[in-house]
C-alpha cells in the first residue's frame, strides 16, 4: 500500500539546512495498523506530512497504492488526498461553524457527490462512530472525544485507502484515548490500513507494528503483540 525508498527531507532554517529525514525505507501492506514512534524532532511528523502528500520529499521515491507520488501539481495532489487518504489530527481540525454532519460531508463535497447521497453517507459514518444523535451539533458543543470521533468519521467518509493519524489521542484524557483507540482498532479489523504517529507507549502498543524513529532514521521496526484497548476502558 505504501512504499518508501531512501526518503530524504531537509528544511532551511536561516542559513543552515536542517536534515530531518535521512534515508527512510519503509513499507506498509494493506490492512496493517502501524504506529510511528519517536521523540519530538525525530522527524515523525515530517514523515507523516510526506505520506499525506501535504509536503514533498527532497529525494527518494514514494508509491501510494502503486501510484508514484512525485512532482504533483496542487490540483492532482488535492485529488489524491481526497481519494487515497484520510487525516485525523491531534487538534481535531473540525470547521467550527459547520455541524458535525456537514464536517463529515466535507470531503464528499470535493468529490462532487450529490447532496442527498452525501448526507446519507455522512450519517452512516456518524452512526458508525456512535454520534448519530449529535449530527446537528456544532463542534463547540461536543466533548474532545466526540470531536475526535467526528474527525474519524470525516476521515472515513471518502473511503480512503489509508488513514493517517497524527497524535490522535494527544489532546484527550486516558480513558477517552482508549475509547478512541478501540474505535481505531475496530476500523482496522474491518481491513482499513492505518498509520498512527504517537509518542505514547501505551497507544503504540495498541497497534500491530511499531516503527521507532530517531534523528531521521528508523532504528527499530518490529511487530507488536496488539493490546486491545477495550480491556483498559
Amino acid at each position: 500500500m505504501i512504499e518508501i525508498k531512501d526518503l530524504h527531507k531537509s528544511y532551511k532554517v536561516g542559513k543552515n539546512s536542517l536534515h530531518v529525514l535521512k534515508g527512510i525505507n519503509f513499507s506498509v501492506k494493506e490492512g496493517e495498523l502501524v504506529s510511528i514512534m519517536g521523540s519530538s524532532g525525530s522527524g515523525k511528523s515530517t514523515l507523516l506530512n510526506i505520506l499525506g502528500i501535504l509536503d514533498e520529499a527532497d529525494q527518494g521515491t514514494y508509491h501510494l497504492d502503486g501510484v508514484p507520488i512525485k512532482n504533483l501539481n496542487e490540483k492532482i495532489a488535492a485529488n489524491y488526498r481526497n481519494k487515497f487518504l484520510g487525516f485525523i489530527f491531534q487538534s481535531f481540525n473540525l470547521i467550527n461553524y459547520k455541524s458535525a454532519i456537514d464536517n463529515v460531508a466535507l470531503p464528499l463535497i470535493y468529490q462532487g457527490m450529490g447532496r442527498k447521497d452525501r448526507m446519507e453517507r455522512s450519517m452512516a459514518y456518524l452512526e458508525k462512530v456512535g454520534l448519530a444523535d449529535w449530527a446537528k451539533h456544532k463542534p463547540n458543543e461536543l466533548s474532545g472525544g466526540q470531536k475526535q470521533r467526528v474527525a474519524i468519521a470525516r476521515a472515513l467518509a471518502s473511503d480512503p485507502k489509508v488513514l493517517l493519524a497524527d497524535e490522535l489521542t494527544g489532546a484527550l484524557d486516558t480513558k477517552t484515548s482508549y475509547e478512541i483507540m478501540d474505535l481505531i482498532q475496530g476500523i482496522n479489523d474491518e481491513g482499513k490500513t492505518i498509520l498512527v504517529v504517537t509518542h505514547e507507549e501505551d497507544i503504540a502498543h495498541m497497534t500491530k507494528r511499531i516503527v521507532n524513529l530517531k534523528d531521521g532514521i528508523i532504528i527499530d521496526d518490529s511487530m507488536n503483540e496488539q493490546v486491545k484497548a477495550i480491556q483498559n476502558v
Binding site: 501535504l54 488526498r81 463535497i109 470535493y110
Partner: protein
C-alpha cells in the same frame, strides 16, 4: 458552481461575523449609493435645464442685418441694408432642409420707451410683427382666444396676441382682455388672444410674458416698414442641423444684397443649436464627473472588501489547510473566496442601488407635489436601466478584483504550513 452547498458555505462564513460583514458591505453600499445619486442628480439638473428649452425648436438660429464691413461690387463699406420679404422666399426655395423661415419686425425692445397704451395705462413692451409659424419656434400656451393665423396676414387685420404680463400691466383685475383694443404707437389693435410662455428663450421668463404679437403684414403697414424684415428665425428640419445650413443661408443673403462673400460681419446671428449643444456638452462632462467620482468612491469600498477578505483568508488559513487536506483543489478555494467577495459586493451594491432609488423616489414625490415647481432647476432626477446595468457590471468586476488577491493568498500557503498555523 451555483449549487446550494456553495451558497450555504458562503452564507455560513459571512454570517459567522455579521458585524464585520455589515461594516465591510457598507463601503460598497456607500460607493454605489453615491454613484447612483450623482448620476441621478446630473439627470435631474439636465432635465431641469432642458425644460427651459422645452418645445423650443432648438435647431434654430436668429439672424439680423448689420452693416457691410467690406467694400464690394462698387459699394463702400459701412453700408446699411435690410432683409426683405423676397429673401424669405429665396431662402425657402433655395436651401434644402429648412423647416421654417419666419420673418419678424420689432418695435420696442430692451429699455424701450412706453409704446402701448390702453385707456389710462401705459407700458413698454416688445411688439413683434410675425407669421403664424412662429408659434412652432417659440412655443407658448394660448390661455385665452387664439393665435395669429394666415387670414390675419392676408387681410392685414389689426389684431394682437398679448402675454399675461401685458394683461397684468394694462388691465384691471377681472377685466376681459379679449375683444378690447390696445394702442400700439398710436395704432389700435384688437386683442384676440392671451399667451403664456414656459421658457424665456435664454432670457428672463418674466420678460417673456411681456410681448405682443401682431400679424407681420399689418405691422409693416401700420408702422411703415414696407417689405423690410428686421430679423428672421430660421429652423432646420430634423435631418439637418442649422449649424451646417447656416453658411448656405448666409451665402444666399450675401449674393442678394451684394455683400462681399467673406464679409462675416454683415449678418448678425444667434445660433440656438450651438448653444444647446454646448449645454449638452456640459451635461456630458457632468455625467463623466459623476461616473469618475462615483467609481472612485466605489473603489474605496471595493478596497475595503479586498482588505477584509485578506483578513478573512488570514484568519481562516487553518480552515483552508484542513479543506485542502480533505481534498479541496486550489480552484475550490479560490472559487470560494471569489464567490464570497462577489456575493458580498453584489448584495451590498444592490442594497445601495435600492436605497439610492428610494431616496430618489422620495425626492421625486416632493418635487411633483410642489405647488409651482417651474422655478426649480431640478426635474425628475432618475437613473435609467442602462445605468443600473452598468453599475451591476462594475460591481461584479470589482467584486472579482476585490477577491482576486485574497484568493491568490489563500492558495499560496502550502497545506502543511496552513495546517500548522493556530
Amino acid at each position: 458552481m451555483f449549487s446550494r452547498d456553495k451558497w450555504n458555505e458562503i452564507l455560513e462564513s459571512l454570517t459567522s461575523n455579521v458585524f464585520r460583514t455589515v461594516l465591510t458591505a457598507f463601503g460598497v453600499f456607500w460607493g454605489i449609493f453615491i454613484l447612483v445619486i450623482l448620476l441621478a442628480a446630473g439627470t435631474g439638473l439636465e432635465n431641469g435645464i432642458k425644460r427651459g428649452f422645452a418645445g423650443i425648436a432648438t435647431n434654430s438660429m436668429f439672424m439680423w442685418s448689420q452693416t457691410a464691413s467690406k467694400p464690394y461690387d462698387g459699394l463702400p463699406k459701412g453700408r446699411r441694408y435690410n432683409f426683405d420679404l423676397s429673401d424669405v422666399e429665396a431662402l425657402k426655395a433655395n436651401v434644402n432642409g429648412l423647416e421654417y423661415v419666419s420673418p419678424r419686425n420689432q418695435l420696442g425692445g430692451f429699455g424701450g420707451a412706453n409704446n402701448v397704451t390702453k385707456g389710462l395705462k401705459t407700458g413698454a413692451f416688445d411688439v413683434y410683427g410675425d407669421y403664424p409659424d412662429v408659434i412652432n419656434q417659440e412655443p407658448m400656451d394660448i390661455v385665452e382666444g387664439r393665435f395669429l393665423n394666415m387670414n390675419d396676414i392676408n387681410v392685414n387685420r389689426k389684431v394682437a396676441v398679448i402675454g399675461e404680463g401685458v394683461v397684468d400691466a394694462l388691465y384691471d383685475k377681472d377685466e376681459e382682455a379679449l375683444g378690447s383694443y390696445i394702442k400700439i404707437n398710436g395704432v389700435n389693435f384688437m386683442v384676440i388672444g392671451v399667451y403664456k410662455k414656459k421658457s424665456g428663450m435664454g432670457r428672463d421668463i418674466e420678460e417673456a410674458q411681456k410681448q405682443i404679437y401682431v400679424p407681420f403684414t399689418s405691422f409693416s403697414q401700420a408702422f411703415n416698414y414696407g417689405d423690410r424684415v428686421s430679423w428672421m428665425a430660421v429652423t432646420a428640419d430634423d435631418n439637418h442641423s442649422i449649424t451646417q445650413l447656416k453658411s448656405q443661408v448666409f451665402d444666399i443673403i450675401k449674393k442678394r444684397h451684394r455683400i462681399h462673400p467673406e464679409d462675416d460681419r454683415a449678418i448678425g446671428n444667434f445660433d440656438l443649436y450651438e448653444q444647446f449643444k454646448k449645454i449638452q456638452g456640459l451635461f456630458l462632462a457632468l455625467n463623466l464627473v459623476a461616473y469618475f467620482v462615483g467609481i472612485l468612491v466605489l473603489l474605496s469600498g471595493v478596497i475595503g472588501i479586498s482588505n477584509i477578505m485578506l483578513i478573512v483568508v488570514k484568519e481562516r488559513t487553518k480552515e483552508i489547510g484542513i479543506r485542502r487536506a480533505l481534498g479541496a483543489s486550489p480552484w475550490n478555494i479560490r472559487g470560494q473566496v471569489l464567490l464570497e467577495s462577489v456575493f458580498l459586493t453584489i448584495i451590498s451594491g444592490m442594497a445601495g442601488i435600492v436605497f439610492a432609488t428610494s431616496i430618489l423616489a422620495i425626492v421625486n414625490f416632493f418635487l411633483s407635489n410642489m405647488e409651482d415647481n417651474s422655478e426649480v432647476m431640478f426635474v425628475n432626477p432618475s437613473v435609467n436601466l442602462f445605468v443600473v446595468v452598468v453599475a451591476m457590471t462594475i460591481l461584479i468586476i470589482s467584486g472579482l478584483l476585490a477577491g482576486f488577491i485574497p484568493a491568490q493568498n489563500a492558495v499560496k500557503v502550502k497545506p502543511v504550513d496552513a495546517l500548522r498555523t493556530e
